[in-house]
């Protein structure tokens, strides 16, 4: 197994590092406090090419492999997570459906503008009564000739207030349960689409999440994504694809927190010496570093498996689970190592601590990941007997 990154991706990673250092980090506190979408920075991110990570080169994107995409996401995880989430959701769940299941006509219509960052992507699965149990959704799509009429509501949709292209799951045949769900490509200005009030969140400031309402919204039949009745499976595949990227972001954030904690513990003096000299803090740092290293190899291994076309349902669930748990553990220790400073909002540790929390909830909670893992290992076990 060769886990060295190619020279191109090393160069990209360095370019992203420089961009984050010079263009994003200096504004992190301001983004956090104002909780406004950093459109000026997004514009620069567009120019850099950060909106086309998943989109094939023929449609103007970079067409990165999963390994390469994770290398970029790891760097993006090292700055304010609200910014990372805007870019991550667009490149992940917001555009992967079109890349994977779109017809050539659909790809031609949407992907070049999405790769250029002119049209941002969002993914709309969750409903008030259908969270972990997404198949319980009630948003209805009824066909009338060459179009569908959609009625219903989605909630907690990342990027909804400024996205242009939504991958929306809706029920086309209520009698068939999960097999009666279809995915659609919905444009922001389709008549009948309305974005609701922006949620106030614990973290991820700078990225906005809101409900969307479909009120007799018309969608051309050409905008069905994939096969009718395949919407639920599509959604699971899109989410599975996003898991490695999400873990890579958690990895970057965890590494950032370890670096900050090392720096602080070596410089902060108590009882006449750096607090690093206290063995208990050394052990905290050693635990953090070991967790992070494990997560790193798991991330690139699963990404590599996905690139080889190997099935990764179980591994991607393990990775998403582990990445989220590591990020939360590391953030907790980072606050502890920083003492009072770790709790004060002038310093970034407190922000990462709050931002870490969502990773155990969205794109499938930690509990749901464990359900997926358990179901898979049971299946594998029974097959092997």
């Amino acid at each position: 197994m060769d886990f060295t990154l190619s020279p191109d991706i090393l160069q990209m990673r360095e370019t992203v590092q420089t961009f984050i250092r010079e263009q994003v980090e200096p504004h992190a506190t301001e983004i956090e406090e104002q909780d406004e979408v950093p459109f000026a920075i997004l514009e620069k991110s567009r120019q850099l090419g950060l909106f086309g990570l998943s989109i094939p080169e023929q449609y103007g994107g970079l067409g990165l492999s999963m390994v390469d995409k994770c290398a970029v996401f790891e760097e993006l995880g090292k700055t304010i997570n609200g910014y990372t989430t805007i870019i991550g959701a667009h490149n992940g769940i917001g555009s992967v459906g079109l890349v994977e299941f779109g017809t050539p006509e659909q790809k031609l219509r949407y992907l070049p503008k999405m790769a250029a960052g002119e049209w941002m992507g969002a993914f709309a699965l969750t409903e008030p009564e259908a969270g972990s149990n997404a198949a319980a959704m009630t948003t209805r799509a009824v066909r009338h000739g060459s179009r569908y009429i959609l009625d219903g509501q989605k909630i907690y949709i990342t990027n909804a207030p400024y996205a242009h292209v939504f991958t929306v799951m809706a029920v086309t045949d209520p009698s068939r349960g999960p097999k009666g769900i279809t995915s659609f490509i919905v444009e922001r200005d389709f008549p009948g689409l309305r974005v609701g009030r922006i949620e106030k969140k614990m973290g991820l400031h700078g990225s906005h999440t809101a409900p969307i309402y479909f009120e007799a919204m018309e969608v051309p039949a050409n905008n069905v994504l994939g096969q009718e009745g395949q919407g639920y499976v599509n959604a699971l595949k899109i989410l599975a694809n996003g898991r490695a990227g999400l873990a890579a972001r958690s990895l970057g954030s965890s590494q950032y927190l370890l670096d900050k904690s090392l720096e602080y513990s070596l410089q902060r003096q108590q009882f006449g010496r750096p607090i690093f000299e206290q063995q208990i803090l050394q052990h905290y740092l050693a635990d953090m570093a070991t967790d992070i290293e494990t997560l790193r190899w798991m991330t690139y291994r699963v990404a590599w498996m996905a690139d080889q076309g190997m099935p990764v349902i179980k591994e991607a669930a393990m990775l998403k689970l582990y990445g989220s748990e590591v990020y939360n553990r590391v953030a907790d220790k980072a606050v502890q190592i920083h003492g009072g400073m770790g709790y004060i909002a002038d310093y970034p540790i407190e922000r990462f601590y709050r931002d870490a929390r969502i990773t155990r909830i969205y794109e499938g909670t930690s509990e749901i990941q464990k359900n997926i893992i358990a179901a898979q290992i049971k299946k594998d076990f029974l097959k092997s007997r």
């Binding site: 370019t15 992203v16 420089t18 120019q47 850099l48 090419g49 080169e57 970029v72």
Partner: protein, 255 residues
């Protein structure tokens, strides 16, 4: 307009340099290598001229295999292709200029751009020597460059101590770039991908059959002496002033 940009790879300016045990050079392992910052201004200027007037930007680099990284970076900024003169030998400014001039001459060009100096050995000789080798006019330490294609002339502003000198010259010519000429661009991610597909022609330095005996050899490199601990005087100003004068006179021997 066909523009050649000669590019040198140098240790990152943030690198802590260690001198090799034999004192003949620096320890190279663990060093981060970058494009000489002044050469970046030259690349940027070449790209801007090309974007305005059309043409081609070709990178010409010299050195061991690691220079390919600097070449890739230059291509990712937007240069069209590259020629690399490969050699593992230590090359003095005269030999570098001779080899670069030979390859530039063979390539053909309207303009050669490069940095005013490389930040590793700071010799500032290669640009002028390329011009001399090729019998071309040259203008160095340039802060502003205008190309008059119709009149086939350049107008350059160059930095002098406390003044700006404006010169005009015909081209083909050699121009060396000063900080302030422009603001070099980031390579964008799509351009990094595109750079993979650009042509890099490799020429071995030996195959050029040039007389490249070094005119300058390095005898010894050594670090500047460690600064001694400062003496801090405390007490009443009248006394510390007296003590300072005494120390400057009898210890530092500057008074």
């Amino acid at each position: 307009m066909k523009i050649l940009v000669t590019v040198k790879q140098v240790p990152d300016t943030a690198t802590k340099i260690q001198i090799r045990a034999d004192g003949q050079g620096i320890q190279e392992d663990g060093i981060k290598w970058v494009i000489n910052p002044y050469d970046e201004f030259a690349i940027e200027e070449a790209l801007r001229i090309k974007e305005k007037q059309g043409g081609e930007v070709v990178i010409v680099a010299l050195g061991p295999s690691r220079v390919e990284e600097a070449v890739r970076q230059s291509l990712a900024m937007g240069a069209d292709r590259a020629v690399v003169i490969s050699t593992d030998a230590a090359v003095d400014p005269a030999a570098a200029a001779t080899a670069l001039a030979a390859v530039c001459g063979e390539e053909g060009f309207d303009l050669i751009l490069t940095g005013k100096q490389a930040v590793d050995d700071d010799s500032a000789q290669v640009g002028p020597m390329i011009a001399a080798n090729l019998g071309l006019p040259q203008v160095t330490v340039v802060l502003k460059l205008e190309v008059d294609e119709a009149g086939h002339r350049l107008r350059a502003e160059r930095e002098l101590e406390g003044a700006t000198e404006i010169v005009e010259l015909p081209y083909p010519a050699v121009v060396t770039a000063q900080r302030g000429l422009n603001e070099p661009r980031y390579p964008t991610l799509p351009n990094i991908m595109k750079a993979k597909k650009k042509e890099v022609r490799r020429v071995s330095m030996d195959s050029l059959s040039l007389a490249l005996d070094p005119r300058v050899t390095v005898n010894r490199l050594f670090a500047p002496p460690e600064r001694p601990e400062p003496t801090i005087l405390s007490g009443e100003p009248e006394e510390t002033a007296k003590e300072l004068v005494r120390l400057l006179h009898s210890e530092a021997k500057v008074l």
